[in-house]
């Protein structure tokens, strides 16, 4: 199996990026042009004198941190898929049954799973987090480790090679929380294929499950990614700019998806696109003609290997349409809930870290924790985090029971977006200048937590 395709990496100028964030109304005058010319000249001289031009350019190719525009190509092997099965409804997980009792105790299975995920996060993800923030990827070992535990198959019924005999939404949020306590970026990377596996389990036809889901449940699983975000101000996932048009053979897709986790590595994508005025999900193989990906690093969650996915007249067959328009809406909600779980986990990491720090950092002769202004910030973190957690669990439990959780998910997302960012912000503040430097992880958590309000797709429960 496998065909070779070209992947383009690097920075591309678009929108306001070629203006370095200067608003269109702000024009350079004569002095400005002269200063600009000087800058370009000094760049050339400095880079050559230090002999660092080559390494700088490599860095730029991976992470678009400056105004350079560089492209490089990489050869890699992309999996091909063997179609099989019929258009009939696929197999589904049973819904969880409620006893009608208010309960905050996870099941024994869930407790065991959380223990394993926590150990994995502590021993594999957390120690590598700083390095992966720089390389903008997640190690093969981490991904293989998560696959070995079966974390990517939580949403897949046993009959399809998964691990759950009923809808495992609660287990999924618990696992995402445990992983993100280790590192949010890597948590997204190791759960990226799981998002697609869950989507195929929930909405796939027999054919889609046999053709695509089987590659995710295999011993050497394929890589997949759920691409819903787009690079647009006021983006609403209900109205993606990416368009799908019906053809005699199937559909043709045009558009671009933003910040797609593991975009460079994915063998196939589940992409959101507008079909006849309604947002729908499409399975798109990475080898498809007209599809290209390029690295698109962001403020945080860099280990997730976020990428821009371009669809330029990509033709897909009829079998590629996944689920209904309502399923798309549900997909958006379930992804948002997964981001809430990530926010809870990373916020927990912040709380634990600053708790230790403020108790040991001494100022004016005693630990700073002895001051109410410091202690109250920690108390605020703790109580807002507990609320975030309860709202996330509350929504996940409704999802598991097959109930409409759109209200609960919207409120959880709002609360998590606001309070998690506050926790990230206060986490840096409580460490003072030490919070601002990379010697401590709080600056990374600050950057990661901003994602919660912004991201759509990528992970799903």
């Amino acid at each position: 199996m496998g065909s070779t395709k070209t992947t383009t990496q690097g920075a591309t100028m678009r929108g306001n990026t070629d203006r370095f964030g200067v608003p269109a109304s702000d024009k350079s005058d004569l002095t400005g042009f002269a200063v600009g010319a000087l800058r370009q000249l000094s760049n050339v001289q400095l880079l050559d004198r230090w002999g660092v031009r080559e390494s700088v350019e490599k860095l730029v190719a991976r992470a678009t941190s400056t105004g350079f525009s560089t492209a490089m190509t990489a050869q890699r092997t992309v999996r091909s898929f063997t179609r099989g099965g019929t258009n009939a409804t696929g197999q589904r997980s049973a819904l969880a049954q409620s006893r009608g009792v208010f309960d905050l105790t996870p099941t024994e299975d869930e407790q065991m799973l959380v223990e394993v995920a926590t150990q994995f996060a502590d021993e594999v993800l957390r120690p590598d987090a700083a390095a992966r923030n720089e390389t903008c990827d997640t190690s093969e070992e981490a991904i293989a480790g998560a696959h070995e535990i079966g974390l990517h198959l939580l949403g897949v019924p046993e009959s399809l090679g998964g691990v759950s005999d009923e809808r495992a939404s609660v287990a999924s949020v618990l696992v995402l929380e445990a992983l993100a306590r280790g590192d949010m970026g890597q948590a997204i990377a190791v759960m990226s294929s799981g998002a697609v596996a869950t989507a195929l389990s929930l909405w796939g036809t027999q054919e889609q499950q046999q053709t695509y889901l089987s590659t995710l449940t295999a011993d050497d699983p394929a890589t997949a990614s759920l691409a819903l975000s787009e690079a647009a101000v006021l983006f609403d996932p209900a109205l993606p700019a990416t368009q799908a048009r019906t053809t005699s053979e199937g559909y043709v897709l045009n558009g671009a998806k933003a910040l797609v986790p593991r975009g460079l590595d994915a063998d196939f994508f589940v992409v959101g696109a507008l079909l006849d005025g309604q947002a729908r999900l499409f399975v798109v193989e990475a080898s498809a003609e007209g599809l290209s990906v390029e690295a698109e690093p962001a403020m945080g969650v860099r280990a997730a290997g976020t990428a821009r996915l371009r669809l330029d007249g990509v033709e897909v067959g009829e079998h590629s349409l996944l689920g209904s328009a309502e399923d798309y809406r549900e997909c958006v909600r379930l992804a948002r809930l997964a981001w809430c779980a990530l926010a809870v986990g990373t916020s927990q990491a912040v709380l634990e870290y600053v708790t230790e720090y403020v108790k040991t950092r001494v100022a004016f002769g005693e630990p700073v924790a002895h001051r109410q202004s410091v202690a109250f910030m920690v108390a605020d973190m703790a109580l807002e985090l507990e609320g975030m957690r309860l709202m996330t669990y509350s929504a996940a439990a409704k999802v598991a029971q097959g109930k409409d959780a759109s209200r609960e998910i919207a409120l959880a997302r709002k609360l998590c977006a606001d309070k998690a960012m506050r926790i990230g912000l206060d986490g840096v503040q409580l460490l003072g200048g030490h919070g601002f430097v990379k010697e401590h992880p709080v600056e990374r958590w600050y950057r990661d937590l901003r994602a919660v309000a912004v991201m759509e797709g990528g992970v799903m429960i």
């Binding site: 969880a96 409620s98 006893r99 009608g100 009792v101 208010f102 309960d103 905050l104 105790t105 996870p106 099941t107 024994e108 869930e110 609660v170 006021l234 983006f235 609403d236 209900a238 809406r329 958006v332 909600r333 709380l351 708790t355 403020v358 108790k359 630990p367 924790a369 002895h370 109410q372 202690a375 109250f376 920690v378 108390a379 605020d380 703790a382 109580l383 807002e384 507990e386 609320g387 975030m388 309860l390 709202m391 669990y393 509350s394 996940a396 439990a397 409704k398 029971q401 759109s406 209200r407 609960e408 998910i409 919207a410 409120l411 959880a412 709002k414 609360l415 606001d418």
Partner: protein, 404 residues
């Protein structure tokens, strides 16, 4: 065992009944008793009789504040949904109707909670059916309740109480008052005991009633005790001064009552949210849970933010009650619920007044009243700042000497 945060199925009839009572009994007289401060809402006598009837038949599972720490039979070792949660849920509904009225409910005083929490079986029997107010605060002692100056001296089979208590909810209407007094001020908090004092006991007088910002249907009294003799058997809990056990006994009351005060704030805030949603919808603004908040109108986005905070307070309150029902340590969670609900109660009710403009501010709607009623809920049974202290000490593992 399985995580589920929906309201327990067995309490839904209770919630439904409480909601009907709030809608049809409390709301129609809510404005009237807000205007006529200090006049007793006699409608509540009928209501209290009804609640007593429900309690006797076991149908209510503890509809009021008196629930406290009643013993609950366990079902196959599984999780319990007991009286603490039932009380929290019904109080939410009643306060959706009117907070002041809930606080004035005969035989459902905070003193009843204290009796339920710390009384011995004999006392529990003797004080069954009383209406007990709670008297802790003094003119010079608020949050630092370990410093109370009211004294109790043993004299034969009696204790002699001396001191002044303020901000006593139902201090005039209740037939009993649970009074905190110290047996020996030099021994600190361990010497503080609570005494049940029957109304009409010589030496106890109601000095005056407060005029207040909100909860005006509830009488808030100043009580003076001058050589007031109370039977020794009315001391709740142990008469011994156990310096090791310290404040524990008296303070456990708060672990049960704080989630209930949080429930009051949650109920009051939901009244504001429900009405505001309706008024906004009449103005053509509907709340879309799927569209990003920033793509909706500013009013809708504000509403979503308020509702999200409300939901957090609601679930924290249920969590604290659930932990109490399941005998899990809930001191920190009770404070989390109280702190979150207290601040959310203010943010939501004030935010809704703002969203509704002059319609919210004027007395034609109840929104302005709820914004006045909610403020006390971030103050009594421990202010916001006291709750944060408790939470911070727990999270940071600091003593009250380290984190003052």
């Amino acid at each position: 065992m399985a995580i589920n945060l929906e309201t327990p199925k067995k309490f839904r009839p209770l919630i439904g009944n409480a909601h009907q009572v709030a809608m049809n009994m409390l709301r129609p007289i809510s404005r009237q008793y807000d205007a006529a401060e200090h006049s007793y809402p006699h409608e509540l006598d009928m209501l209290a009789a009804m609640i007593d009837g429900m309690s006797d038949s076991g149908a209510s599972e503890g509809a009021g504040a008196s629930a406290g720490a009643k013993v609950e039979k366990t079902v196959d070792g599984a999780t319990r949904n007991g009286t603490n949660m039932a009380s929290a849920l019904s109080i939410m509904e009643m306060c959706w109707g009117d907070v002041g009225m809930l606080l004035s409910m005969p035989r459902q005083g905070l003193g009843n909670s204290a009796i339920a929490a710390v009384a011995n079986p004999e006392q529990r029997e003797r004080f069954a059916g009383v209406w007990a107010a709670m008297a802790i605060t003094e003119p010079e002692v608020g949050s630092d309740s370990a410093n109370i100056a009211t004294t109790a001296h043993k004299d034969g089979d009696e204790y002699i109480l001396n001191g002044e208590k303020i901000f006593v909810t139902c201090g005039e209407r209740a037939d009993h008052v649970v009074v905190w007094a110290t047996l020996d001020k030099s021994l600190g908090r361990a010497a503080i005991k609570s005494f049940v004092v029957a109304k009409g006991t010589p030496g106890m007088v109601v000095e005056r009633l407060e005029h207040k910002l909100g909860i005006r249907a509830s009488d808030t009294a100043t009580l003076r005790f001058t050589d007031c003799r109370v039977p020794a058997a009315n001391l709740l809990g142990s008469p011994e001064i156990d310096t090791k056990q310290g404040f524990g006994g008296a303070m456990t009351t708060f672990d049960n009552t704080r989630p209930l005060v949080a429930a009051m704030a949650v109920g009051c805030a939901r009244a504001s949210l429900d009405l505001t949603r309706d008024l906004l919808s009449q103005a053509g603004v509907t709340i879309d849970y799927d569209a990003p908040a920033q793509n909706q109108s500013a009013a809708a986005a504000t509403f979503l933010a308020l509702e999200a905070d409300w939901e957090s307070a609601y679930l924290l309150t249920l969590q604290a009650a659930w932990k109490a029902d399941n005998r899990q340590p809930n001191s920190m969670h009770a404070s989390m619920a109280k702190a979150k609900a207290g601040r959310v109660g203010s943010a939501v009710t004030l935010g809704c007044v703002e969203l509704c403009g002059t319609l919210g501010y004027g007395e034609s709607e109840l929104l302005e009243k709820w914004a006045r009623d909610s403020k006390i809920l971030d103050i009594f049974e421990g202010t916001q700042q006291i709750q944060l202290l408790i939470i911070a000490r727990r999270v940071l593992g600091l003593t009250s000497a380290q984190l003052k």
